[in-house]
Symmetry: C2
Subunit: 301 residues, 2 copies
């Protein structure tokens, strides 16, 4: 399997020799432009924090109802002026309405739904999974779909988004179906895969994780801020589709259904860089972050 | 194996029924005092940052030369007034002397060694490994020794400290044996296990990770701070042994050679708490953080 990857990579990159498998930097440098894709305007959230911009890619294939609700919330300005509520070290940063549980004070959800069915998993059958051959303790099958880390179990026939660093989920209360996407969280530490299949995951942070991961940790239970004054404010959250063209962040995402992606994984398994003296010959789903890059300037028309 | 754990736990905790395995909270609450240990004064570093105190437990069994050098550096005040140099999101925070590479400006190492042999691994034979039965993709064997996460390979006969969240290592240059423990780093994101066997790991942060993980990310290459003014200062680093008794942080660590430890792991595999609707029936080496707690007050003499 590994040799196939290397071979595929070398063919893809048109390299002459098997002697020195390419490094991560070389794989990226030689990747054809067609192995990268633009941001999908309807599936990209742009969150403005004091600390900077956070770009989140939504996953409609895995959580269609939540993603539709999140689009509505963004269009109607739901998060504008709300706040980061919770930062628990080595776990999650969570944001939304501090008064969500106080009916008299809660910000209205507008035309968005207050409650949605749980979207914890989808059928594995038919899913275009770029499978990762490396074993994973949490699930019998792992891989990538649309750039998202996915775990699956052929026995149950289900697949789900994995709680890797930077993944975004929809907070819920005790009931399975108590989330609506208004309160969101992202993973800021070691991937808490034990949350998988317990909560609806809606996307991942493509850019701007420092704005969510470098925040002061909350000192109240579960990392909530003890004092409202400690909360970082959210200035605005918009869909990329609702931003003027000129203001849209120009970012590209590596396609996980490209030849570059398995070549990149292989370069991380077998380290050719000078510093490394040992190659792990393994990569884990959550250590295989899908890269982004600034969009190259368009050629003149 | 799982049933053995549950049974061992129930016997250990003297619980009457097999019907409801204990939760994480119950396991901790019922743990006997003898399953906890005090901090080892010669193996505990106390680092004072503006953001608070960071406690680091050293691992002399795995890196005896580096730990001895680190003790010397602490005793001679090497880190006092130095700084956090690098914070790379989802990777590491690193600290030491900003001028370490400039001979004319570098802070003298005092009586500490400038260069040590690499201590990447130790013989597996004879190691008191509390083995984790759960599969791990990075290594054929994992478990815990002295509270540290350990990976091992029976084929090579070697064992090593794993790069889990909060583990502390000794930065090195290109040469294997170019570290001396003066420049240290800790893992602040998804565990970069690909670093295992490539660098000397010297311990783990027991308390105070937010002081290292919530720092602003550096914007220069590899997360180094572009501007010296952005660096957080280190006020002082001491060995616990060199602090007056009354000032020493009163913390206990759960023994990983106790009956409570496997019971705690099992409670994380099989979730009995109300919120969880799915149990992972798995735990990963790096998701199984060994707990600490404030030391209970001593009974009057």
């Amino acid at each position: 399997m590994r040799n196939q990857f290397v071979a595929a990579c070398l063919i893809g990159l048109n390299m002459p020799s098997l002697a020195a498998p390419p490094t991560v930097a070389q794989v990226l440098e030689h990747s054809p432009a067609t192995d990268w894709r633009a941001l999908e305007p309807q599936n990209t959230l742009v969150m403005e924090l004091t600390a900077g911009q956070v770009l989140i890619e939504l996953a409609p294939r895995f959580a269609p109802r939540h993603v539709a609700n999140i689009r509505t919330l963004a269009r109607e300005g739901y998060w504008d002026g709300l706040a980061i509520l919770r930062v628990q070290d080595n776990y999650v940063t969570q944001w939304g309405d501090p008064d969500a549980e106080v009916p008299a004070k809660a910000k209205p959800l507008g035309t968005a739904s207050a409650r949605l069915p749980a979207e914890f998993s989808v059928p594995l059958k038919g899913l275009p999974l770029a499978r990762l051959p490396d074993p994973d303790g949490w699930a019998p099958v792992t891989g990538f779909v649309d750039g998202f880390p996915v775990a699956a179990d052929p026995k149950t026939g289900q697949a789900w988004l994995a709680h890797c660093y930077g993944m975004v989920g929809a907070g819920r209360d005790m009931a399975r179906d108590s989330s609506n996407g208004a309160e969101l969280y992202t993973v800021i530490g070691q991937s808490p895969r034990g949350l998988d299949l317990n909560i609806t995951v809606v996307g991942r942070v493509l850019q701007g994780m420092p704005g969510l991961a470098a925040l002061p940790r909350g000192t109240a239970e579960m990392g909530f801020y003890a004092d409202a004054a400690q909360r970082a404010g959210i200035q605005r959250v918009r869909l990329l589709a609702d931003m003027p063209e000129a203001e849209r962040p120009a970012l590209e995402v590596l396609r996980t259904d490209s030849a570059t992606w398995p070549a990149l994984l292989q370069a991380r398994r077998v380290r050719q860089e000078g510093w490394f003296v040992h190659s792990p010959r393994h990569i884990n789903l959550c250590n295989a972050t899908v890269p982004t890059r600034p969009r190259p300037p368009m050629p003149p028309k």
